[in-house]
Symmetry: D2
Subunit: 278 residues, 4 copies
């Protein structure tokens, strides 16, 4: 039966890679519906994303591709289907709400397994959409204890990504390392400006004329992970930092949803501390 797959290849660069890979598709009579490559000259790294359709055996295709690419090549053949995600939130509804509406509309491209809040503020909103909400308060316990509760819950689910939709707690190294390249965060500034707490207040005090939002993978270094998407909003002297915070929310939710869409469509490669986006 005809099927469709996204082929993602990420390896050391070498002469003839496009030829060798396209030959594999050609020999099997596959259609190339979409194809993009990029070579990072600085690090000698090759990235390719091809959407193929036709008659093929996924494992056989993967094995053959491995045989024509450098030894440590990272190759994935993904048959599109809805990914599974877990959302983590605190009190603000805008980023969560944007995702819930897209999900209700069937536009998100992912199943929401559950929403976890360190406050119960958003429980009512989530329940309106018949999605499980788990309230895991952090009172009277250490960061480590709280995360243990969260991880215990998370690990009951199968999931592809954890999305921090304005989750306002810093995660420990242990947590982050348990889900490498699986945690997506929205930071409410134009990184690397205003790292850390209350970026709108920082932006207000610095008197900037443009504020922004940044979606990124979460790594061990706070606010330093690979950036997926950014956007900006013009501001002026009339805005207090609360006004900036309010104005910034639209940017935050749009940037997070755009990043999520890129990730769910397998369009993002992590390249060291940067991303390649097709």
């Amino acid at each position: 039966m005809e099927k469709r797959a996204r082929v993602l290849i990420d390896c050391e660069d070498a002469k003839g890679l496009v030829y060798e890979i396209s030959k594999v598709f050609y020999d099997r009579g596959l259609n190339i519906d979409n194809n993009r490559e990029f070579v990072d000259k600085e690090y000698g790294r090759f990235f390719m994303r091809t959407v193929v359709s036709g008659l093929f055996d996924t494992q056989e295709l993967l094995d053959t591709l491995k045989s024509v690419t450098p030894a440590a090549a990272h190759i994935r053949v993904i048959e599109p289907e809805d990914k599974k995600i877990i959302l983590m939130v605190t009190k603000e509804s805008h980023a969560l709400g944007d995702i819930l509406i897209r999900h209700a509309d069937g536009e998100l491209g992912a199943e929401i397994e559950c929403v976890i809040g360190n406050h119960d503020t958003l429980e009512e909103l989530v329940r309106r959409f018949d999605i499980p909400f788990f309230y895991i308060p952090a009172d009277d316990m250490s960061r480590e204890e709280h995360e243990e509760h969260v991880m215990k819950l998370i690990n009951e689910f199968e999931f592809d990504y954890i999305v921090l939709a304005k989750y306002m707690r810093i995660l420990t190294s242990t947590f982050v390392k348990s889900y490498t390249q699986k945690i997506i965060n929205i930071h409410h500034s134009f990184l690397p400006a205003f790292i850390g707490a209350n970026p709108y207040k920082q932006a207000y005090e610095r008197g900037v004329k443009i504020i922004g939002a940044t979606a990124h993978y979460v790594t061990d270094d706070l606010d330093e992970g690979p950036i997926i998407a950014q956007d900006v909003i013009p501001v002026n002297h009339r805005l207090t930092w609360r006004d900036m915070q309010r104005a910034g929310r639209d940017g935050e939710k749009i940037v997070l949803s755009r990043a999520l869409s890129l990730v769910l469509n397998d369009r993002v490669f992590v390249n060291g501390n940067k991303t390649v986006i097709f």
Copy 2:
């Protein structure tokens, strides 16, 4: 001797094109420094731009590529060197000035053969840069007569593109057809809004909150040719149409220079009345 070339292919889509073409490069041991393709599914059209380097005979490479692509394929193998351009202007200096400064800096990527003005306002500015300026007034003559003078002059030069840097006269069909896909214009609106005369006045009267500029190939249909680049600038009720005109100039010059850079680097394919830009 090692050399470098931009290979541009534009043809009917067919299965295996990427394979066949990359095989040609592979068989000659060429390096692929950069590669982008696009298939227009609606019209079944394939576009590819590859930068190759290595030892090759340009004619032999071209012939071989023709032998592996559909019959009517449009293939070019271009060894990068400065293109030649002719500028046409009226009275406003901003778009011309931006190009002159880039040229003086060696950043333009083109030789300016001459500047032709239907007014002599800009003669002094052009002469400061030791570039020939020809004043061809349009007084007391028909549009056709004026263009005959202009074309007589133009045809004394070898050139790749005619750049209308705020040339404020409408060109006849005869003129346009003489230089197909060779005339680049900057229109001072966000096309297709405000086609025709005085777009800033139109924008002011319509009360828009954003104005723009559009660089496009000139075709027989006024302001309807394939768009290369566009940009926008926010405006508000405080601006008169003269203010909008002034504010719009920065957008105009930047968009024209960006479009010119794309064209001079052979990054633009014309696809019907649209463009594919790599």
Copy 3:
């Protein structure tokens, strides 16, 4: 008791207006928390929006302001409280959803009296938020008949604005004239480009490099009413018109919500077919 009001004045320009008006506030010992004026020199029209606080009698303040301004001055003294709105929708959920989330969050600054759909697609979503949804199908009836049903329903409510959140039917002159300066629409293009049906398809076919969205008051002339807010999104040759439509949705919902916020905060004056926005 101390209170707060927005004073909106819109009148023929005259010498000394700022002085006369500020004297009224000064004589009553009112604080000016915020103040903006604009004079449209072309039409000799004065606009002023002042937020005052202190002890005052609303009617007395209004009467005094009338006595110091030109005869036909349009003056409002508005004590901020939630406005009331009616939403009209068809099948797409993004603009509606954005408003529902803001409403649930208490951020909208308006009560939603009801949602009216000419399809029942969005009924489930609206009901999740415990807001009345009325399905008024248009099958087997004339435009006029359908609107009669809609108007009968609308007129049962008290409301300040009707918001067309992607309501995909053209309204008759009768309908529009019944609610002058009370209907806000989101048009899915960068007006005045691509007036009429299917603007994304038009944009795709024209090959533009930027698409947009426009929120405007609805007047008798289709897509020609005073513009409140606009925004744009860059696109490229890779996007089909369906992709543009998808990408454009974020712009649509943000622009509509921004326009709605301006209107609900009494920051928009209609000035002929344009707007003054403070």
Copy 4:
């Protein structure tokens, strides 16, 4: 004789200021052509810029305004005429060239007294415009010695502003303090991101998706002075840092010219380490 002036007032906030000030204009029968105020609630500071026209004595107007405003009020009554500026440059021509073209066009609103370079690279370009160029090399001398030479030259001129049009040397505290609120710089990043050397390289290495430019007053703290204007440009993984540098130049020159225009039109108030811009 009728004349026109910009009245700039910057003082501690107090009740009735708009009334008291507009009364001064009213009593003299002056027209208000343009008026904007702003109150910084956080610091209790009042800013007003009014363009008045009519018959008045400048000194008398100034004295009366002083008598109705708080003791330490900073009040200026400026009759518009071309300001005088000194440009400082290093090797890059884009920001300088943009200013030269505007100047040649009569659009700049300032006389260029001279251009000072710490390299002679741009001497030829400046001479084309018949503007004095002074080459003051920094070789074999301390920062202080070099600046002494520069200051000796600068102090021979009357001028309103020193514009650093990509002057790539750090200025000492002594230099900066000699010209408080008179030095305008263009920094080639979206401050406060990428303070210091080679921001494009920093941006490339951080993998940001947007780069920017910032025009600001120069203060003792490197890259920390009050921001006047900012703008951004989207980038992607295909750009090397050299490509970013090239792409960023357009932003730099436009932002610097926009800031310069604001400053020359007396539209910028410095408010602590921020700006109020009318």
